[in-house]
Assembly symmetry: D2
Homo-oligomer: 308 residues x 4
């Protein structure tokens, strides 16, 4: 395949403070499809259009945040190969048995230098998007909630994002798409990386605490759906952090908002294609505001401080 | 890289009957950026957002059609590797020297079983999209013409599309995304293939004549730009073949229309992501109408008959 | 008021061949809100956003078509005044008692020179749009079906459209917005008239049979909702006559389609503002195709022939 | 006519601190069409789609703000009639001779109780929108700048908005569409009024200083053009006050931004139809934030304080 190795973001396990309230909110406001619960009581969701069994897992906990973020790889041979590369890179890996997550094969878990748990896996049950694989109709937006197309990427915060980037580039074959420099002009404040031709599959910001989540992002297909999403948020009194607006970085349109536990989520739309032969884009410290919020051209208070 | 091998469609050389008229039309109606002419008199164009030097080459000729369609590959090692695979597959390849196309490296050319000339190349000058690589602004649509985002794919017509598919899958690592079956339920009338995570990078329809072009497609980012494109076509008395409408296949929105020489072009927007782990979609003969034109649910006269 | 006299299209009574099938279709595919039935068995509907009790009445009959089309006027004084003007113009009027249509006051009914029954009325119960009149939320599109904003206008076919126009202009104070001329350059093939600042509140085409309905139109707010409407039609195997496309006349975007009884309906979006000080627009016979279908620039077979 | 009396907002004269800089900005960033200058040096503009000679007049001055706001009325009889009604209401009127504003007939000027100068006029030269009145093409957006459809309304600040409302309702036949109440639950903080079927043609906020302008608003047809407008503002380093977002009041989408002299302008899109038979909407003090900015649900610092 010309698409090989790590294919795409596959799942995020998010900690919530009140599971039932969160299940209702992810179902009715986010418009995700509930896909059952496991013996640990975790609640599973997918978007309507995703074909794999789930992309979001909610776990009740006493603090918000993200337990782990998983990427689907091409096949089991790829999984084994990437695990060997991780070990050769000095990374300690762990195998989580098949079935620990519902309908999901064995996972290879490891920690990033920033402390975040990342997983790779090759198998998750194809449950389809409800349209079938023969003469499918278009899945018209007729249901409740925001109903994003897919779980798209995450932005994580932690100290050593340089070591993170090295691991993603050298071991997992990601490509650098954009970066923001600190005032010194050399240190990266933040980097955006892709394993495909999207503007980003994961991003990271330098931050003194390890293992922090800034947001998990869901894709919307159109700017009009971004407006509809903001309307749904307001109507449901969901707290909006910022937006609707456009990012200068990736040029996608965005709303940042909070789930009932205070986890920041994003609806993301657009963003240019980035192929590995393309030059990365650099933002200087004085223009970081325009990079994050293209219209306002300055950061809001929460962007660099509120994480879970 | 997780994106390796063949990256994307890179250029199409199109034959036109009146070069100056066509240059004016591709500039003012299509809204492409003229990128100069070579010693053979061929005229080069790129979209505003493309970063490589060109994606469309016009050559004056006494009949319309497409001379060749080129794909960019990751690097020269990939180019050499894919040439070896082609030869091992029994395909005769030819090297076109660097510089034959402006600002373009050496190309490997070969003919598909359907008779079409395909090229692979690793190098084309990065001239940028005018926004630069440091603190870029958004490139607002303020100019003349349709101004698509990128040259996106082509649809070719020819006899042995099974052998074509085998070559694209086995040698060039493309993936089957969708297919239409003939009345017998087994033979493919048409196939859609991708080398990335797009719904298609090339497609082909079974047809008795070899080396025919159905259309070269340009991407638009929004359905509103599709409407604007149709308005521009009407205002300029460009002949519209069909649309605006939606394809059932790929679920993208579309307009088919003709350049002044009768070459069919398309504006294409949307289309779902397809990764190589995903199940292909099959259309049966009785639903081919809905597959091609989702709203009308039947083919128009020209779809299977008018090619150049 | 600066808006006085006839305010807007208020209701259309449509004949359907199978009432229950039609009630299901107008509810689930059109996305109208069922508003009850009367003692005659007629079924009432409104759009979600309309505040008055109903805008569509379905009556079971053995042939399709429109029984009457009603306009709401400012108040009862206006109703009496306009009836006097009608009588002075030589028009025979009839009073339909309050309550004949559910939640509707007394109606003044008369026949146009083209044979169509038109009604004026001043009172219909304000049932609201579900958002209330204090701190209303936005009514997000989360339900089933096309869900238009309002019943917008109708296009009628009949012989003496000149006399129609005279009545609408002189008695009901409508304004001519656009017209299409026949080949002779003087006779009107069709006229578009407004009683407000919309591009049209009623339109009429010259036709040999009296009392024919071409379509009743429903407004959509965006071109993206036009696409969604076409998708819903295809998914429900609703027969689409033409579109999505744009009209040259009014410049609105459109889909023509048929209800289960063969009545043509339209989704209409956009259209410019027209105030009574503005110059009307004229289309010549050779450009009528572009006037009706701006992108195709020619009429389809059904436009001048299929009416109910 | 069913549309009579005051038809629509017709022009606003805005004071700018540097005329040449402002002419360049209103031309290139706003995308208005320059329509010449008069002997006083005032610069005239219209939108591409407006047919009357101009809607914006810029006057060089040493402080920003709005000199006057004009409404077009149906005809000279209406102008005379409304002047009599004004005088009968105790308002002192003044006649400005024809030609004082380029291509404009005689104007009746008077001051509102809030101190603002308002004008009525019946005649302004129809220069057309460039598409002609026979077989017009669609005016595709191909030029520079935001290119709004029309000058839409203004929001003024001053002390006695109750007396303003009485004058607009009783003398000029405007209709109340929405209102915001102060904490006492009875006093209006703000009112939105229409002379047509739009959600507002003028609005006013209670404020201790007389004769203040909050913003002059320009209409855009689509939410995608709102995004394009915000992109153009950012690219040109135009200061954005708030948005893109949606108003709860009128439900239109909006960007507030400043011209080079600090005059706040708005791009406004959408907004529901309001006819004079419809119930006005009331916002309570505790929900004024959601009324102004539906997504953020709270006012920003500048909304009640920054005026010119």
């Amino acid at each position: 395949m010309a698409m090989t190795g790590v294919l795409r973001p596959g799942h995020a396990q998010i900690r919530v403070l009140d599971l039932e309230e969160s299940v209702a909110w992810y179902t009715n406001v986010m418009g995700l499809v509930p896909m059952g619960r496991d013996v640990q009581g975790r609640a599973y969701f997918k978007t309507r259009q995703e074909r794999d069994h789930h992309s979001i897992i909610l776990r009740q906990a006493d603090r918000a945040g993200m337990d782990f973020f998983g990427f689907k790889v091409l096949d089991n041979a790829t999984l084994n190969h990437l695990e060997k590369k991780l070990v050769a890179h000095g990374v300690r890996t762990e195998r989580i048995p098949a079935g620990d997550l519902l309908e999901t094969g064995e996972r290879v878990r490891f920690n990033l230098p920033t402390g975040h748990a990342i997983e790779l896996y090759a198998e998750k049950k194809d449950v389809g998007n409800g349209m079938g694989y023969v003469n499918p109709d278009v899945d018209v937006l007729e249901g409740k909630g925001i109903a994003p197309t897919r779980m798209d990427h995450c932005l994580i915060y932690g100290p050593d994002i340089d070591a993170n980037r090295e691991l993603f580039e050298k071991v997992l074959d990601f490509t650098l798409v954009e970066r923001v420099k600190l005032e010194d002009g050399t240190t990266d404040l933040a980097t955006w990386l892709t394993c495909s031709a999207k503007a980003h599959d994961i991003a990271m910001v330098r931050h003194n605490e390890p293992d922090k989540m800034h947001h998990v992002s869901f894709r919307l297909d159109t700017w009009e759906q971004v407006l509809r999403a903001a309307d749904i948020m307001s109507k449901n009194r969901t707290s909006i952090d910022f937006g609707p607006t456009r990012h200068g970085i990736t040029q996608g349109t965005t709303i940042y908002f909070f789930d009932p536990s205070g986890n920041r989520l994003e609806t993301f739309c657009g963003g240019y294609d980035h192929y590995p032969d393309m030059h990365p884009i650099t933002w200087t410290w004085d223009e970081v505001g325009a990079g994050i919020y293209y219209h306002a051209r300055k950061l809001n208070d929460t962007f660099l401080t509120v994480v879970t």
